[in-house]
């Protein structure tokens, strides 16, 4: 008797309502962001039908509406989409989350967010002089002023939100300015993403900046501590939790290596698993990474395909190589497959820029701060 890999449990369902984005960030990994297609209600029906018909839903999960700007579609679209999800729901708690560029937030959006308890993540790269370097309109203009209107409205409406700030090399000289930006604008929850080498973004300005990156993290941590942790930084909280609280460092481990812990569905119903960014990429070995389509394939059926097995096997081999060679494995779990593929050309590989900065540098910097923190 042979047993396949354990599938799920589903943690994150990434739905692409449309690949279209109304802005044109220079570091974006999405290859198709001028495409105005949208996920139809029929596709939404099939997505939730497939999800709840599968045995990968074993507890609460989050639906992230992303991979294009979700707010280019109207709030009424999501009201219907949420209703479809609930119609198929078997009593599981589903949390909906938008990762948005924030330029389109208005009162109607706020009404929807409040009514459905949607979690909001706004992408803003700090003060305007940093944000507008990369987050631009198609005509090359800055988008910061529009984003700030959205953030101000969320604050005025008392809607809790977090921000995602993409760190580029230019940002590393400005931890104080970014921190002041958060404090001055009522931003209490932030996450740092690094500029990754993914898809069309074949170079990262962060390559070769590890010392500066560590200095940035150290300085930012000092600022957060001096400010009484009024600003919570996702990376600090999760890493410190694992370092300080004797909790299982597995909480930091990526879900991107576990089959069907993450499922990403594009607007046509094509789906994949592992790293969400794989959907939309093309590769000589793996093609388009599509494992199936909700209109014809169940998740279980797709998991028995050769494409799934190959993907799962190669990712697992890469994880084992990390386990055998990296002392940070407990804080990571084997890295992000998409980064390995885009940086090293293979899932069956180990260290990436993402590992060096987002795991190793972070753990090192916080470990160095711990004695001081304990003394305080």
């Amino acid at each position: 008797m042979t047993t396949g890999p354990v599938l799920g449990p589903l943690d994150l369902l990434v739905l692409q309502p449309t690949p279209f984005c109304n802005i044109d960030c220079s570091y974006c990994y999405l290859p198709d962001r001028r495409n105005k297609n949208r996920m139809s209600e029929d596709t939404l029906e099939r997505v939730f039908e497939r999800v709840f018909a599968s045995d990968i839903v074993r507890g609460p999960f989050t639906v992230v509406w992303h991979a294009g700007e979700p707010m280019v579609l109207p709030p009424t679209y999501y009201a219907r989409a949420f209703a479809i999800g609930e119609r198929h729901n078997r009593g599981v708690t589903i949390s909906h989350s938008f990762q948005t560029n924030g330029t389109l937030v208005d009162d109607e959006w706020c009404d929807l967010i409040e009514r459905h308890g949607v979690r909001i993540g706004v992408s803003v790269d700090g003060p305007g002089f940093l944000h507008d370097r990369c987050r631009k309109t198609r005509r090359g203009g800055g988008t910061h002023a529009q984003v700030m209107q959205g953030i101000e409205l969320l604050c005025r409406r008392g809607i809790s939100f977090h921000v995602i700030t993409v760190l580029t090399a230019a940002a590393l000289d400005y931890p104080d300015e970014i921190y002041a930006f958060y404090v001055d604008n009522g931003i209490q929850h932030a996450g740092f993403n690094i500029e990754e080498i993914e898809g069309p973004n074949v170079h990262s300005s962060l390559s070769g900046t590890e010392e500066r990156f560590r200095a940035f993290l150290g300085r930012f941590f000092d600022l957060v501590s001096a400010g009484g942790h009024a600003v919570r930084v996702r990376e600090f909280d999760s890493t410190l939790g694992a370092l300080l609280d004797d909790s299982d460092p597995a909480s930091l481990r990526t879900h991107q290596t576990a089959p069907y812990a993450i499922i990403s569905v594009d607007c046509e119903g094509n789906f994949t698993s592992f790293s969400p960014e794989l959907l939309g990429l093309r590769n000589e070995q793996y093609g388009d990474f599509v494992l199936g389509n909700v209109h014809r394939d169940s998740f279980a059926a797709a998991s028995s395909s050769s494409a799934f097995h190959r993907l799962q096997r190669d990712i697992a081999v890469g994880v084992e190589r990390c386990r055998g060679s990296c002392e940070y494995f407990d804080f990571c779990g084997g890295g992000a497959p998409v980064n390995k593929l885009c940086e090293n050309g293979s899932f069956d590989s180990t260290e990436t820029l993402f590992c060096r900065l987002n795991r190793k540098a972070l753990v090192d910097v916080l470990l160095a701060k711990l004695p001081r923190r304990a003394a305080e």
């Binding site: 000289d173 104080d176 300015e177 404090v183 200095a215 300085r219 000092d222 001096a226």
Partner: protein, 248 residues
């Protein structure tokens, strides 16, 4: 009298401050010697293109601020707020809250790789609006005008506006070592003596007035610079942080 080449202003490396020199800089109409000290004459005008070239450097992505240049910088709001918090907590520039402000400011400048001396003092001077000088004589009762530093044997390292209105720094663009030959002073003459001789001999020489927004400051070149504050255009109290060190 025309401006002579002196030290240059630039935006300090690793700071994002809009230079906007034509709107920041004003050219004075000379120096008014008085028994109390040397003050700028009242008339100020916008600089010409040639004068801007003499006063400012083309910004370059230099790794470090040149010792011969002055660097425009900006303190982030959380550091400025820490000063006002110290005032609220302690009512004066002393005590634990002020020390915390100092430590955080030092950490900030260190991160920015500014050329902090091994040892320097932090002073905050609060002045009334409407004054043409913010420096007081030894009696503490009278304005004393231009000087190289606030205390003998010291050199000003940086000057920063902690208030919420624009502040104005008046300065002579010729550092002490450039003034000596013009003032026909010996190499051992004290700075104040050199300045006095220069101001008396060249009273038509234009002083410069630099506008600094809330939180903005100027990192001085290594050579001592004669300077003073000017609160004539303010509505509220002027609060200026001065970093100074022993003059080697």
């Amino acid at each position: 009298m025309n401006l002579a080449p002196g030290f240059l202003l630039q935006v300090a490396p690793r700071f994002h401050v809009a230079a906007l020199w034509p709107t920041r800089l004003e050219i004075g109409s000379g120096i008014e010697p008085t028994p109390a000290g040397f003050f700028p004459r009242d008339a100020w005008r916008a600089p010409s293109a040639e004068e801007l070239d003499l006063l400012t450097a083309v910004t370059s992505p230099a790794e470090a601020l040149s010792p011969s240049h002055a660097g425009l910088f900006a303190l982030p709001s959380h550091i400025v707020d820490r000063w006002w918090q110290a005032v609220d907590d302690e009512g004066a520039a002393s005590g634990a809250a002020f020390e915390r402000f100092v430590h955080e400011t030092v950490d900030f400048f260190r991160f920015k790789q500014m050329p902090l001396p091994d040892s320097c003092s932090f002073d905050v001077r609060v002045s009334r609006a409407g004054q043409r000088s913010t420096r007081l004589d030894t009696s503490g009762r009278f304005l004393s005008g231009l000087a190289f530093a606030d205390a003998p044997g010291c050199r000003t390292v940086a000057w920063a506006n902690l208030g919420d209105e624009d502040a104005r720094l008046v300065y002579l663009n010729l550092p002490l070592d450039t003034l000596r030959p013009r003032a026909r002073a010996t190499s051992i003459a004290a700075g104040d003596e050199v300045l006095a001789r220069f101001c008396e001999a060249e009273a038509e020489y234009p002083l410069i007035r630099l506008r600094l927004g809330p939180g903005e400051g100027l990192w001085f070149p290594h050579a001592p610079i004669a300077h003073d504050g000017d609160t004539q255009e303010k509505l509220d109290l002027d609060a200026v942080l001065t970093l100074s060190c022993a003059d080697a």
